[in-house]
Symmetry: C2
């Protein structure tokens, strides 16, 4: 029986994915050279669709990596000489911070307990931090930081670079790329694709920083997928190494489908489904929304504490053809995580709520 | 019209790939969690099939990256404190060397002209080189280094680590992993899959080196896909970050298909097809094998200099439904490259030879 995946990534595949995959196989996209005009056309198409969808200006390039986790490393290598600053409130923002330490950067951290979020007013960025690392959506705890708060942070610290981890929320957050220097996501979340591709958006300012580190500071910015090599190949819609051509093709097609619906509609549908889920959780005796502050509640990954052991809730849902996520880490057995991505419809969310009510 | 791809990667998809992809879609492999038992079973299965196919002992782990190019960086980060040594005779072995320089390692090089190969007797490895970087098959020039020569090199320099780039030849070369510390390949070559997955085989000795660099030398070994994190997750058949689950599944299935045929048969078929191609080229007035020394001629990527501009040869073949590779770099218009991977049959190679004869 086909299950509906409400897991926060890998997640339910977007309904049109199968059709696009079939077309890709028919057109032998898996065999074409990444140095061919056909590939350059695919890269250009995906680039155009993502620019439209996320409102990305010409100042920013769009690059492909193996995963979003890889981008954590790349941005730190390319945009931090000495010091980075991290807002940490869950496992993934923590890993970004850990990566900085692993690269021997001097990493500052402002940490909050699991389930709590950040507001602009309470954030003090250390004087010498070069890069502010923000996680728009903490997949582990279901906490978001609102784009307006991120924008205010950049306005206050205009000379520092701001990078936004939007792994489990893109294309939902309406980021202003005049203020956001870099952002990244992976395709197995809200884009409804299998895992295996990271997308890195970075500005000319990020590139200049990487070039400065390389040339004048004689610092290594890594060897693979450095921003200068990614960018020089990007000028002709190529990549430094053989990329995941098939997934770049599929991403372009999914982004095109999103654009046909319209990003405003997708955001409204996301809001509506999130409203349904939180309304149910708030009213229920069996579930409690984990995130207390409404403004910090994620629209795309809804986390609830369960009265029964969450394993039982998950098992019952599975019987009914619905896969929901476990809690993360130590909350594995006391919480559930429900992804609210475009691949699941209002009707499917309704079915899930009915199931959870049982 | 469906074309037959004789390009050296991305290449012709292995005939069973379509069926496995369909099964994967039916089983919703693109949605399963990389922290689930189902994923661990897939990793274990692919691991087992690759061990059988390539005769990999328990001393070595098998890890997944975004590409083989990424492995160049990972092995240099994890296994070189100061000095590496590179056998360079084409564009890809050169890039491996470039990566070492980019990471600020002291990289020694023994370079030969494009089209020439290495024999064990002529190689002197500098005293302080820690890692010997060998390219079994230079995809750009169609030159191979025979496994027996690689093994002799390791025997002479037993205390140094030897890593073999087998990107465009695996599973063809019969490497002895009692002598080869590490090897890597990507799936879009002889495994007949779309690009987007690198496979890294590394020994316990490599792991110990990485741990030593981290702990005692206080050196960064990178942050993403470090050997210690890959290995610690590998113990339970997991990965540090979300991997390309779908492609790991497909790789296991293709490797299983190869094992059903038997690696000996696959190697014999490869030899037979290579013999046909070189015999034709040797006898032809219109083509000359680029690699003069027979012992250095690649069995998996056959490169020929053409009398006519190679663009014309390639255009005619395309008309007949066969895609062959251009020459690499400055040889783009004077050479052709023909991949001899398991995905193309003896009959298809025969058709190609008939076409080239026209």
């Amino acid at each position: 029986m086909k299950q509906t995946y409400f897991t926060p990534g890998p997640a339910e595949l977007y309904p049109t994915l199968y059709k696009h995959l079939q077309t890709a196989m028919d057109e032998q996209i898996g065999s074409i050279s990444h140095r061919s005009q056909k590939f350059r056309d695919i890269y250009r198409f995906t680039d155009t669709q993502l620019r439209t969808l996320l409102n990305i200006p010409d100042t920013h390039g769009i690059f492909f990596t193996g995963s979003a986790s890889e981008v954590w490393e790349r941005i730190l290598f390319n945009c931090v000489e000495h010091e980075s600053f991290h807002l940490v409130n869950g496992s993934f923002s923590k890993k970004f911070y850990d990566y900085a330490n692993a690269l021997h950067k001097y990493a500052h951290v402002f940490e909050k307990p699991f389930g709590e979020g950040f507001d602009y007013t309470e954030v003090d960025v250390p004087e010498y931090a070069e890069l502010i690392c923000v996680t728009h959506n903490e997949t582990s705890s279901g906490v978001q930081m609102r784009p307006t708060e991120i924008h205010k942070l950049k306005r206050k610290y205009a000379k520092k670079l701001v990078v936004v981890d939007m792994v489990s929320s893109a294309p939902y957050p309406d980021l202003d790329f005049a203020l956001v220097d870099s952002a990244f996501f992976s395709v197995q979340k809200a884009f409804g694709m299998p895992a295996g591709l990271g997308v890195w958006i970075a500005s000319q300012t990020c590139l200049e920083k990487a070039e400065r580190l390389q040339k004048y500071d004689n610092l290594t910015v890594g060897a693979h997928h450095t921003l200068p090599t990614l960018w020089s190949h990007y000028k002709t819609f190529e990549t430094p190494a053989t990329p995941n051509v098939l997934f770049i093709y599929l991403l372009g097609k999914i982004a095109e489908d999103f654009n046909k619906i319209g990003i405003d509609t997708i955001r409204k549908q996301t809001d509506e489904k999130a409203r349904m889920l939180y309304k149910f959780l708030d009213a229920s005796d069996d579930y409690t929304p984990f995130v207390k502050q409404e403004r910090h509640r994620s629209q795309t990954v809804v986390v609830a504490t369960t009265k029964e052991p969450s394993t039982e809730v998950i098992a019952s849902a599975k019987q009914a053809g619905m896969i929901i996520g476990t809690g993360y880490g130590k909350f594995k057995e006391s919480q559930i995580r429900i992804a609210n991505f475009p691949a699941v419809s209002i009707e499917q969310v309704d079915l899930l709520i009915n199931q959870l009510q049982k």
